[in-house]
């Protein structure tokens, strides 16, 4: 489990760092909204980084427990963003809907990577 855990941690840390770098570049290029998109996605990677830490704390030496905990959160948390995106779309607020889509994209990315590293089924 240690190897999988360290790969997943590394991936999440890399994503946060990449977002921070992209954000700084976009800010310097006077593209404030796109810089904000990076901050939003960085937050998502940060959230799942924390979840991974909690999953390990609550399931020491139990890879299946970690997997179950993490996958459950990967369903629960984005469900709120799906709801928010749908509400925004219904009221015609495409800007808010786009921000929710960005969170969902990042969560999808986390899910794909986790399954690839952990060998878990989708």
């Amino acid at each position: 489990m240690d190897q999988k855990l360290s790969r997943m941690k590394e991936y999440l840390e890399e994503q946060v760092a990449q977002c921070a770098q992209a954000r700084a570049q976009l800010m310097a290029d006077d593209r404030g909204d796109e810089a904000n998109f990076q901050a939003i996605q960085s937050n998502v990677y940060g959230i799942f980084s924390t979840i991974l830490k909690v999953a390990v704390e609550q399931n020491p030496d139990n890879p299946q427990g970690v997997e179950g905990f993490f996958l459950k959160k990967l369903e629960e948390i984005p469900a709120h963003w799906v709801e928010a995106r749908e509400k925004a779309t219904t009221r015609g607020d495409e800007i808010a809907a786009h921000l929710e889509r960005l969170k969902l994209e990042a969560a999808e990315d986390v899910g794909c990577t986790f399954r690839a590293i952990w060998g878990a089924k989708a």
Binding site: R31, G32, D33, E34, I95, H98
Partner: protein
């Protein structure tokens, strides 16, 4: 354009990607994917920016066959920044109240028992005092100099300075016949 709309527009324009989109639309009307390809952005990002530009009134859209085309609202860009600055402020009433409060404060400071204590050195304050003094003159009436002096002497002993300053500030005019209030002072 209201102040709120102007602020919304300026905020919207203060973004390089949106400015690039507008520059492209200034060339010709385009659809999202074409703009995305031209500017190296994702279609979703271009859509996001177009929504913001549409909200600010900078672009509009129309259907053309299978595409939603976006066009620059050229009328908006014909408006000059000077036009926007010269629009009456939404805070005009508040500013007028503040100006009146300041005017009253100056008058209270320089007048005591109906007499001018000193002639203000600061131009803005002096003008407020002179505007109050010119009110003592009837519009469209020509006053000989001794009469002007007599009126001003009710307020301050240095009538020569006051008389000269009233002319200098464009509140009184003079010729060989005497002095009268200018249209500006009425």
């Amino acid at each position: 354009m209201t102040e709120t709309e102007a602020i919304g527009l300026f905020k919207c324009l203060a973004d390089k990607s949106r400015l690039q989109i507008l520059k492209s639309l200034a060339v010709e009307d385009m659809y999202v994917e074409r703009l995305a390809q031209r500017l190296g952005l994702t279609a979703a990002t271009v859509s996001f920016h177009l929504k913001k530009l549409a909200q600010a009134g900078a672009v509009s859209s129309y259907k053309s066959q299978y595409y939603t085309m976006y066009a620059l609202n050229r009328d908006l860009f014909d408006t000059t920044i000077l036009d926007i600055v010269q629009e009456e402020s939404e805070e005009a009433d508040l500013q007028a109240q503040r100006d009146e409060a300041y005017r009253q404060h100056v008058l209270d400071s320089f007048f005591q028992d109906g007499r001018l204590k000193t002639i203000p050195a600061q131009r803005k304050k002096k003008r407020i005092v002179l505007q109050a003094l010119v009110e003592q003159f009837e519009p469209k009436h020509i006053y000989p100099e001794p009469e002007v002096n007599a009126i001003l002497a009710r307020y301050h002993d240095d009538v020569c300075t006051l008389r000269r300053d009233l002319v200098g500030e464009g509140l009184l005019e003079r010729d060989a016949q005497g002095y009268w209030r200018t249209q500006e002072s009425e």
